[in-house]
């Protein structure tokens, strides 16, 4: 059996390849990006056996995956937790249409918000959609679960959600591979109305989803991903899910583990297993990374007449990711001796790279805005969000992908003038276009700056779908061409760039300024991409 050193993300990707996917669709987002990147580096991708594409956003990715499933073939879509919000509409409705070919959705949560604006727990989304959720504790289980997920998806004709958290996504370990499965052949659903969610048809489909709940529960009880580990000391029983299992076991490395453990890796929550387990022990400790989902359901409104320790009684912190030390504390282990980190230590916050084009754009924008009071720049998600920090202190918002344009529109409607939106090229494609259409429709006084570094830089330089055609996309919304400018953000053009900004800031309508210079880190890759675009145009 072949064994490879794989990140959690890569284990999922390798399993998807081995399970015979036809396509994988995604929008980059930490900590999920490496799944699609890994497939793009595979032999199967290079030989055109598998499609692995960056999409405009998570919603389009999810919909394309549903389309593949419709044809009877297997597909995966992956995203970060907040990406699942973007894909929520097709995701929720895919539970109603059901899957034809295996359909697996991967959502990578980011507790502690290492690279995110919140730490929402995707398991709630699975429960919301009433579909099976899988939560691996390590790289091998992630690999094995993907195989199982595709089979489960096809067995009950349902999408399946696989939830991981940052540490597993970005931790590498040895993974033993299974034999690979051939891709499914094209086979449309027997009922060609299955994916038509007209109310009368959707009602029938919804009943099927509800009827399936008992099947999903039986799978949870019997799949083996929820399992009991016997223990002699029944004063405490520990229910543990996902990566928290590793932190628990770390604390008993080379030690006898006296307490019974119920390891949870599959949802819906296996009620009978939990009931029998809880009946056997005096008190319960619940360890789960993310929100207290198991704990909340176990306690209900009224509690269970036994002490349950976890996030609600602050045995485990409610916010942030877990680690072995937090679990040790929850187990009331004595604190370990540790060295003190010296007081003179200072933080080293992330910065825009030396030579980054955003630096020049922000310097020009700050100068253009210098005659106004502060607080007029709505921004978005990307490297340029660092413009909120010194030395720039330029931007005043970062809420969700695309919100810069629409929030600036709202602020403009409310009377703030001038008002600026700053958005990256890839973020503009993701969710900025629709906002621009709103602005153009109402001729909202707003200056939109698209920071076009020709790549998706923050996640490591994935292909930007705007590359080579951003102007035509912008003009396609109906923008007045007289108020579209393309500037080169460099020191030597500083004063002319300031003038262009100033002129458009005073214009009572929509302007778009594209500040275009390639990302200093991804420059070689961008040149290659541009070359291949030029070649394909000549053909």
């Amino acid at each position: 059996m072949r064994k490879l050193p794989l990140l959690g993300d890569e284990a999922i990707a390798q399993a998807a390849i081995d399970a015979g996917i036809t396509s994988i669709y995604a929008y980059p987002g930490t900590p999920s990006t490496e799944i699609t990147e890994y497939v793009q580096k595979s032999k199967q991708f290079r030989e055109h056996q598998i499609i692995a594409q960056w999409c405009a956003n998570e919603k389009t990715a999810m919909e394309a995956a549903i389309g593949v499933s419709y044809t009877g073939k297997r597909s995966m879509t992956c995203m970060k937790h907040v990406g699942l919000n973007v894909a929520a509409d097709p995701f929720m409705n895919s539970a109603i249409t059901g899957a034809n070919g295996g359909l697996v959705v991967v959502s990578a949560d980011d507790p502690s918000m290492h690279s995110s604006q919140n730490e929402q727990d995707s398991r709630y989304f699975g429960k919301f959609a009433q579909i099976p959720v899988l939560e691996p504790h390590d790289q091998q289980e992630a690999y094995d679960m993907v195989h199982y997920a595709f089979n489960l998806s096809e067995k009950f004709q349902t999408p399946v959600l696989l939830r991981i958290t940052t540490r597993l996504a970005h931790s590498r370990s040895g993974v033993t591979l299974k034999d690979s499965t051939a891709q499914n052949t094209l086979k449309l659903p027997d009922d060609l109305q299955r994916f038509v969610l007209l109310p009368a048809l959707a009602k029938k489909r919804y009943k099927i989803l509800l009827d399936n709940q008992v099947n999903f529960l039986q799978e949870s009880l019997h799949s083996g991903f929820n399992r009991l580990i016997q223990g002699v000391d029944k004063s405490l029983g520990i229910i543990v899910s996902g990566i928290a299992f590793n932190y628990l076991m770390e604390n008993f490395q080379h030690k006898n583990l006296p307490f019974p453990i119920l390891k949870i890796g599959q949802y819906p929550i296996p009620n009978e297993l939990i009931r029998n387990f809880v009946n056997e022990v005096d008190e319960v400790l619940i360890l789960e990374e993310g929100y207290p989902l198991i704990e909340e359901q176990l306690l209900g409104f009224l509690g269970i007449g036994k002490n349950v320790h976890g996030k609600f009684d602050a045995t485990v912190p409610r916010a942030g990711e877990l680690n072995p030390n937090l679990v040790a504390k929850a187990l009331k282990f004595p604190e370990v001796k540790m060295n003190t980190v010296p007081e003179f230590l200072v933080n080293r916050p992330p910065q825009l790279c030396a030579g980054c084009p955003h630096i020049d754009t922000y310097n020009a924008l700050n100068d253009a805005l210098s005659e106004f009071t502060q607080g007029r720049v709505m921004s978005d998600i990307g490297c340029y969000t660092l413009g909120a920090l010194p030395p720039f202190n330029t931007i005043n918002s970062c809420v969700d992908m695309g919100a810069s344009i629409t929030m600036a529109k709202g602020a403009s409607d409310a009377g703030l003038r001038p008002v600026v939106s700053v958005i990256g090229d890839s973020t503009f494609i993701h969710s900025g276009i629709t906002g621009l259409i709103d602005c153009v429709t109402y001729n909202t006084p707003i200056t939109i700056i698209i920071l076009d570094n020709e790549t998706t830089a923050m996640t490591g330089g994935q292909k930007s779908l705007a590359l080579g055609r951003l102007e035509s996309v912008v003009l396609g919304t109906g923008l007045d061409p007289d108020h579209l400018h393309i500037i080169d953000p460099r020191k030597k053009f500083h004063s002319e760039n300031v003038e262009i900004f100033k002129k458009e800031l005073s214009y009572e309508g929509v302007s778009v300024v594209i500040a275009r210079r390639e990302c200093i880190v991804a420059i070689d890759q961008i040149k290659k991409e541009l070359q291949s675009i030029a070649v394909s145009k000549n053909i």
Partner: protein, 203 residues
């Protein structure tokens, strides 16, 4: 330590690799990764990705053992070694270091912040640890050919300590830099060897 003794005892090394984004800590981690694989040990390596890479502090937790490893993160007070490409970054993680743990670090600061503490104070703090090796890896690397190899000098200095045969690190470098040609491989091999010498000189 030879592989034989590794196989007999409960062998484990918990290593924190530290530095600033762009200083080559990923290469150090990859080289240890290849060497670990070749020596048939278990490992888990937690990497840093995403926004925190840009000029900010970065760290990787590398765990090696001859038994299956549980946690992806090293528990506080448990690390056997901190390898750091930058002195201030070495100190950032000393709470992870075991009482008899080692610090092997570059002495040259990466000064991309305005409030960098007094360097003498930083160096003295590192020296106050019972087991520490502080040296100018940049100039050692420069002598060999390029400051870029400083990370491999540091790995060389740490290599004797990791309980993996030196040859396996050499093989790792050949794999890691294979695409970049013989010249780059040779330079990094020399850097590795120089690091090993420095380790012995300091012992």
């Amino acid at each position: 330590m030879t592989n034989e003794t590794i196989n007999k005892n409960n062998f484990k090394k918990d290593i924190i690799i530290a530095g600033v984004g762009g200083q080559g800590i990923v290469s150090i981690a990859s080289a240890i990764g290849y060497a670990t694989l070749e020596s048939k040990l278990f490992f888990k390596q937690s990497e840093v990705h995403g926004m925190s890479q840009r000029g900010g502090e970065v760290q990787s937790h590398f765990r090696i053992a001859n038994y299956p490893i549980q946690s992806d993160l090293i528990p506080i007070g448990n690390a056997d070694l901190i390898i750091s490409v930058e002195p201030l970054e070495a100190l950032r993680y000393v709470n992870y270091l075991a009482p008899d743990g080692w610090i092997i670090t570059n002495s040259v600061p990466y000064n991309n912040i305005t409030n960098y503490p007094d360097l003498v104070q930083v160096h003295n703090e590192i020296k106050s640890f019972k087991n520490s090796i502080l040296f100018d890896a940049d100039s050692e690397a420069r002598k060999i050919g390029s400051v870029k190899a400083a990370n491999m000098v540091l790995l060389g200095a740490a290599s004797e300590f990791l309980g993996i045969q030196f040859e396996m690190f050499e093989n790792a470098i050949k794999t890691l830099f294979g695409r970049k040609g013989d010249k780059i491989i040779d330079m990094n091999l020399k850097a590795l060897a120089r690091g090993k010498e420095i380790f012995h000189f300091n012992m």
